[in-house]
């Protein structure tokens, strides 16, 4: 009979237990063996938070698990597959690559799991892609093409680099040569969605905010990072941060949610520093505008009679909490030391875009059944649109069903990738829903 312990000393038990070193480092899948081995198949990664479960319709928040249905495509299945891969029990195959890459890495699984547990699902999925590249099997051909485009023309579309600032002349925009705020335009707004770049610039001007551009802006590297090309992504991160530092900017502003996440979360992750250590602030347009409206510096006075649904772009919302590097050890009962503050998606940019839209006279903001941290991803991000366009479009159609469900006339998001994907789905659908970037809506509501 074991001795009946009537009191335990947790610190002592931890101290005396065998330890495993662990880092939040996606370049080594072994850092996440514990997380993969503790998945309990509750499918919190797939279901909408049960408190917010809207009913028989719109039950899931994971596009991949919902589209492909086999457990293997959900994070719960990928944890098992990843563990088998880490333990050498599975080898790379085309199917395995498909399962790893047919996924917008939207963070719904990570936030859902961390509703109740402490497992690093999102980082594990990133680490699986890094491993695919390390093992010489990833990324997919469509992703390699993007990487080639970036290497050659510094943008993901393969458009001529010289055209990057064409939106300025088209819009008759004159940025300052020197300012505290630097607007990082990003590939999409530079080449595909000049209306977003122009709207952003005009909003800043209307608010009296001077802004400059990077003298020679290159791609942020979102896709190459997201598909596991860590070296290429790190080189871009170092280059872009260096360029910002040369300008002396205190704040870098994005109108693209993907770029926002890249700068705010993944650059520090790649460089093993914290967001606070970047040397400048990273903000999205909606944070800046929300602050201006609340200070009275920007007044949305023009009425817009429209019933609008707001789509939370994943990279602006649940994926956007700042990064803090962490390494330590795991011991008794799986506890870690030093104390790790997990990123659970709680502090994403949720209320700012809503406050902005609610401040516009006449505009009626309606919430879709799946909202904020439970939003259903548009499906376009992080290399999905390029390699799995059918999945991306399917996801957008799923979201449009919600727009129709709440009777909204327009769908507003804060990311060009979302806008373009939704716009394509609307066109295919042949319905009358209008799709806007929030910069366009803000611009239309202010006196200039």
């Amino acid at each position: 009979m074991a001795e009946r312990q009537t009191k335990i000393d947790v610190k002592k038990l931890f101290k005396e237990s065998p330890k495993t070193p662990v880092k939040l480092d996606v370049t080594d899948l072994n850092n996440f063996v514990y997380d993969m081995s503790r998945c309990i198949k509750c499918k919190g990664c797939t279901w909408v938070d049960h408190i917010y479960m809207p009913g028989a319709q719109f039950r899931t928040k994971c596009p991949t698990a919902t589209r492909y249905l086999f457990d293997s495509y959900g994070a719960n299945g990928k944890m098992r597959i990843g563990l088998a891969l880490a333990e050498g029990k599975l080898q790379w195959t085309d199917k395995l690559l498909e399962i790893v890459y047919a996924d917008p890495l939207c963070g719904a699984c990570d936030v859902g799991c961390k509703r109740n547990l402490d497992l690093e699902i999102g980082l594990t999925l990133e680490a699986l892609r890094v491993k695919a590249v390390q093992d010489g099997v990833g990324p997919l051909p469509a992703h390699k093409k993007i990487a080639q485009n970036i290497e050659k023309d510094h943008n993901c579309f393969g458009a001529p680099h010289n055209n990057r600032t064409a939106w300025l002349a088209e819009g008759k925009i004159n940025p300052a040569k020197k300012a505290d705020l630097l607007y990082f335009v990003g590939c999409s707004a530079s080449y595909v969605n000049p209306e977003i770049a122009q709207a952003t610039a005009r909003i800043l001007k209307a608010a009296g905010t001077d802004f400059m551009l990077m003298p020679d802006e290159w791609c942020c590297g979102n896709i190459v990072f997201s598909v596991g090309m860590i070296d290429e992504a790190r080189a871009l991160a170092q280059r872009n941060i260096e360029e910002v530092k040369k300008t002396g900017a205190k704040t870098v502003l994005m109108s693209c949610a993907e770029g926002y996440r890249m700068w705010k979360v993944d650059y520090p992750k790649l460089l093993n520093c914290s967001t606070d250590d970047l040397g400048f602030k990273v903000v999205h347009l909606v944070e800046h505008v929300d602050s201006l409206i609340k200070q009275g510096a920007l007044k949305p006075t023009k009425p817009m009679d429209m019933r609008v649904a707001y789509h939370d772009s994943c990279s602006l919302s649940r994926l956007s909490e700042p990064w803090v590097p962490w390494e330590g050890e795991r011991g008794w009962m799986g506890m870690v030391e030093p104390r790790l503050t997990r990123r659970r998606g709680t502090n994403g940019v949720y209320f700012q875009p809503r406050d902005i839209l609610n401040a516009i006279p006449g505009l009626e903001l309606v919430e879709m059944p799946r909202t904020r941290e439970n939003a259903f991803c548009c499906g376009a991000g992080r290399g999905t649109k390029e390699a799995f366009p059918e999945l991306a479009l399917w996801s957008a159609h799923q979201r449009l069903e919600e727009v129709k469900h709440v009777g909204a006339e327009a769908l507003v998001s804060a990311c060009p990738w979302c806008k373009n994907n939704f716009a394509q789905a609307v066109k295919e659908d042949g319905n009358s829903i209008e799709v806007f970037d929030i910069s366009e809506v803000i611009l239309a509501s202010i006196d200039r």
Partner: protein, 533 residues
């Protein structure tokens, strides 16, 4: 090991190429463990294998055809709703077909007659939400919001709300079962017409076979449809609030309210529950383990242990709480009446009300049940007891006493006697005993504890829910029957003569004990020579 190409083609012709796969990577995604309910233990390591093939039917007819093909080609198969119920819901033999039922996720509400018809892929939280939109509710079992409604109804299906709502087997209405040979059995009113509004029907009530006390874990066919009773709740909306992970339902305090009472001792706890039942008030009356409070308070695993480290055997032994959920089912006045009666009862037993948050995340939608894994990483409820209120609590103490012997590897919880509560207005007392461990440690002790609990119950002549297919049948059957095991095996033989449906259940735990060397010291009962190896 995958299934034959010929049988694959036949199965593919039933569901279409998109809904079947024998790709090893796809099948690996269906592995039972190593994490999850009852996972990371010997049973999971020894008894579960990756399926040879996965198929996802959409209709009852497809399920029938799949099952017939399995019988023709001798392919063992396992019904699978969500996979949440750990190793016992996963294949135990090589080359098995896993029948993933998630596409059969219908939820239809009959508002006139207050029942819901669900498919095996439907989980609880959307059903509860649909019920609440209409002023009704169901019990979400302790398995939580993510559990399949049908699987949970067949297995467990109770929670603190069972104080008011009847036990699950009373709420199973018309049901459709595909037998292991593919024949369709329609139960209740479905046997006579296409309307599942009623549970009983002429002839034998087969729901007993299907469910028994806690079911036979999918070894007697596949339930493809079930109507479940909805009970009246109250009309006010329970508003979801907060951002993950701190989300909860805000309770309309004039209609729904939790009150926690501290009472002087266990006798007072039991008496309070008994009197509350006798007065026919409240929607839930429960006592949960002390460490659940630490789970609810903690923001992470490390904080849980920081909080739990402050407790001791003394504080656990002095923890006498009664949690009461009041529901003004018919009106605010109803709620006021119940509260006055409750306060009278508590005054009599010496209970003192403590400040209680006006919210719920645990029992109305059961959003936090996965939090059971946060502190150790591994968990199983080793037994459930439905007894009288006074007997149920004694049962928990027996378990707590035995548990000391196996701590560690079990989590140090200082002999907490588990969770107990009132069922059906105090007519039954419920006790559930939960154990936790870290699967990275040597878990042989957990495997031994599990079987030792059966021996303890035999010795004390106490009857529990998991003595059948969850324990070695040749250990428990002769002691509880004396031919309980023979009856169960005859039923299995009659319905599934080829033993194609989830073999070797109901003998799986017997097989485990035979295979696991570390179980030898505890094995002192006879098994037949033809036990599956």
């Amino acid at each position: 090991m995958s299934i034959s190409k010929e049988s694959y083609r036949v199965l593919e012709s039933i569901v279409g190429a998109e809904y079947i796969s024998d790709d090893p990577v796809v099948c690996e995604g269906y592995r039972s463990g190593p994490g999850g309910y009852e996972s990371g233990l010997g049973y999971e390591r020894v008894m579960t294998v990756v399926p040879g093939c996965v198929i996802m039917p959409k209709t009852t007819e497809e399920v029938q055809r799949i099952v017939r093909v399995c019988c023709r080609y001798e392919i063992p198969y396992v019904p699978y709703s969500t996979g949440f119920y750990g190793p016992r819901s996963h294949p135990h033999v090589e080359g098995a077909l896993l029948v993933d039922l998630k596409r059969m996720d219908e939820i239809e509400i009959d508002e006139k007659h207050w029942f819901a018809v669900v498919g095996p892929g439907a989980i609880y939280s959307p059903l509860q939400e649909e019920c609440m939109k209409r002023g009704g509710y169901v019990v979400i079992g302790g398995g939580g919001a993510q559990a399949s409604v049908i699987a949970n109804f067949l297995g467990d299906g109770w929670s603190p709300l069972s104080h008011r709502i009847g036990l699950p087997h009373r709420r199973i209405l018309g049901t459709e079962l595909v037998l292991p040979d593919g024949e369709l059995v329609k139960m209740g009113s479905l046997a006579q017409q296409d309307d599942p509004f009623w549970g009983e029907s002429p002839g034998p009530d087969l729901r007993g076979l299907l469910r028994g006390y806690t079911g036979v874990r999918g070894c007697l066919g596949i339930v493809t449809k079930m109507a479940v009773k909805i009970l009246p709740f109250q009309p006010e909306r329970l508003v979801p609030t907060g951002i993950s992970p701190n989300t909860s339902l805000a309770l309309p305090e004039k209609r729904v309210k939790w009150i926690n009472f501290v009472v002087p001792n266990k006798e007072a706890q039991v008496r309070a529950m008994f009197e509350i039942g006798k007065a026919e008030i409240a929607g839930a009356v429960t006592k949960v383990p002390l460490f659940w409070r630490a789970i609810a308070k903690a923001e992470c695993k490390e904080e849980f242990w920081e909080l739990w480290g402050k407790e001791s055997a003394e504080t656990v032994n002095k923890f006498f709480i009664v949690r009461v959920l009041l529901i003004g089912f018919t009106s605010e006045e109803h709620m006021e009446y119940d509260e006055r009666v409750l306060m009278d009862i508590m005054k009599e037993v010496g209970g003192e009300a403590r400040p209680t948050r006006p919210s719920d995340e645990s029992w109305i939608k059961n959003a936090d049940s996965a939090g059971m894994w946060v502190m150790c990483g591994s968990y199983v409820s080793v037994d459930y007891v439905i007894e009288t209120l006074s007997q149920a609590t004694q049962h928990g103490e027996l378990y707590a006493d035995l548990k000391w012997k196996y701590t560690p590897p079990l989590m140090p919880d200082y002999g907490d006697p588990g969770w107990f509560q009132s069922f059906e207005l105090g007519h039954q007392g419920y006790s559930e005993f939960l154990v936790y461990w870290d699967q990275d440690q040597n878990t042989d002790g957990v495997d031994l504890f599990y079987v030792d609990t059966a021996k303890m119950n035999i010795k004390n002549r106490t009857y529990t829910s998991l003595l059948g297919p969850h324990q070695p049948l040749y250990l428990t059957g002769p002691k509880y029957g004396p031919n309980y095991h023979l009856w169960l095996l005859r039923v299995k033989d009659e319905f599934d003569p080829q033993w194609m449906c989830h073999p070797p259940v109901p003998l799986a735990h017997d097989v485990f004990v035979e295979r696991a060397k570390w179980m030898k010291p505890i094995k002192d009962w006879e098994v037949p020579k033809d036990l599956p190896k």
